[in-house]
């Protein structure tokens, strides 16, 4: 039977480890390119983040102490919402135009391709949020140390948002009201990230040091890095079936 296998038409399969890296690179490069081509959309998400953060001082109080207490929490909640706003598109456009079928049928491991997509999502939505946070924190009279810890927490925490969010985005593929369901599904999972992230700044202000909170965030990131690509890939396969 093996003799019947066509020889001329067969492309040599890439070795597994090589394939994983190449697959990750393919997805990362393609998604970054697509994001760059439709960069107005990224601008909208970032502007949303800026506006949400700015609304709170306007709506509550200009009082210095109150604002500096509220600041970290508000910036973190806004980061969650900004992440949530961009998540539905993570897989939905690929699903709608058939690319997701080709991705799932690729000889590269699906987990690697999904990881590349998640990495691109973080670079285009999470990283700008991290970079903007210290600037926006000034509106809340936060001091230098608090701002540094806030940015550090976001730097560790926002990748977790992208990783967990990818699972939710894959699970809600093909649903009509996917966006709302995605929020219900994912926001509860975001709670620990929010608590430790915002808690890190509070701990510093209380003179306790942020090490404990940031370490827990780091542990969460390690866990999400290992688990989320597999869960999201499994959800993608289910969505295509």
């Amino acid at each position: 039977m093996a003799a019947e296998a066509p020889t001329d038409a067969v492309a040599p399969a890439p070795p597994a480890a090589d394939g994983a890296l190449a697959g990750l690179r393919w997805a990362l490069a393609r998604d970054l390119k697509l994001a760059f081509r439709s960069r107005a959309e990224l601008g909208v998400q970032l502007l949303f983040y800026v506006i949400v953060v700015t609304l709170f001082p306007l709506a509550t109080t200009p009082e210095r102490n109150l604002l500096s207490t509220m600041g970290p929490g508000v910036l973190w909640v806004a980061a969650l919402l900004a992440s949530l706003l961009s998540l539905p598109r993570l897989f939905a456009t690929d699903h709608a135009d058939g690319t997701l079928e080709q991705i799932a049928l690729s000889s590269y491991p699906l987990e690697a391709l999904v990881s590349g997509k998640i990495a691109a999502h973080w670079l285009t939505t999470g990283l700008p949020v991290v970079l903007l946070a210290p600037l926006l924190g000034l509106q809340y009279y936060m001091d230098g140390e608090s701002l540094a810890i806030l940015a550090m927490g976001l730097l560790i925490g926002t990748p977790i948002l992208s990783l967990l969010g990818a699972i939710g985005a894959a699970l809600t593929l093909g649903l009509k009201s996917g966006g709302g369901l995605l929020a219900l599904l994912i926001l509860p999972l975001y709670v620990p990230v929010l608590i430790f992230g915002a808690g890190a700044v509070d701990a510093v202000r209380a003179g306790l040091g942020a090490t404990a909170n940031l370490s827990l965030l780091g542990a969460g990131l390690a866990l999400a890095l290992v688990g989320a690509p597999f869960a999201a890939a499994a959800a993608v396969r289910i969505a295509l079936d």
């Binding site: 393919w26 390119k33 697509l34």
Partner: protein, 208 residues
């Protein structure tokens, strides 16, 4: 060799087909026909490894293959209803992206030749957004040429193609079979292949 035994599919409570079996050897094609809603696309998606049959087995070169199995992913080129094109990318970028995704190399020379073959050279730098349905299909054909996969699964490949496009497709499938490849196509139109190489499978008659 692609082999299927006792395949069955259901959608909800409705049974689309059952007891579907066939054997396609290297250099042969299987043409699936049948009225709308008899499960042609479902069958093709099973063979491509995108969904699981509700019963029955699929074998590739003697090995049983399930959905998304590695053995199948390395050999199948699936061209479904959806073109898998990105509106933001140009025709050439789309093609290069799809070919690299399939694990093949996409050197510029090969891309040029493939685009020339499907008569899209002059449209290569246009974003896919402005291409016509037929031109989008042609990018899919160029992908088949470059991906070098032995098993082609084509769902209504003639749709939206003009006469020249249909002839091109027929020639491509013919050459593919000549090279020892296999093709499974669901189609209402004739692909213009030599009858000796073609098996046909009519769905919608097996279920009473």
């Amino acid at each position: 060799m692609l082999e299927a035994q006792n395949l069955a599919a259901r959608r909800g409570h409705a049974e689309l087909f059952r007891d579907v079996g066939f054997r396609v050897g290297a250099g042969d094609a299987l043409v699936v026909t049948g009225p709308n809603g008899t499960g042609k696309t479902t069958l093709l998606r099973m063979l491509a490894g995108l969904s699981a049959p509700s019963s029955g087995e699929i074998h590739w070169n003697g090995r049983s293959v399930g959905p998304f199995s590695e053995a199948l992913r390395g050999v199948v080129a699936y061209a479904g209803h959806l073109p898998a094109l990105k509106d933001e990318l140009t025709a050439e970028e789309n093609l290069a992206s799809l070919v690299t995704l399939s694990g093949a190399k996409a050197p510029p020379g090969d891309l040029d030749r493939a685009l020339e073959n499907v008569a899209l050279s002059h449209r290569r730098h246009l974003p896919a957004r402005v291409l016509s349905a037929g031109q989008r299909r042609r990018i899919g054909l160029a992908r088949l040429l470059l991906a070098r996969r032995p098993l082609w699964i084509l769902d209504e490949p003639v749709t939206a193609l003009d006469a020249a496009g249909a002839a091109l497709l027929a020639r491509m499938v013919h050459d593919h079979l000549d090279r020892g490849g296999l093709a499974v196509a669901a189609t209402h139109q004739s692909l213009g292949l030599e009858p000796a190489r073609v098996q046909s499978l009519a769905l919608g008659e097996t279920v009473a």
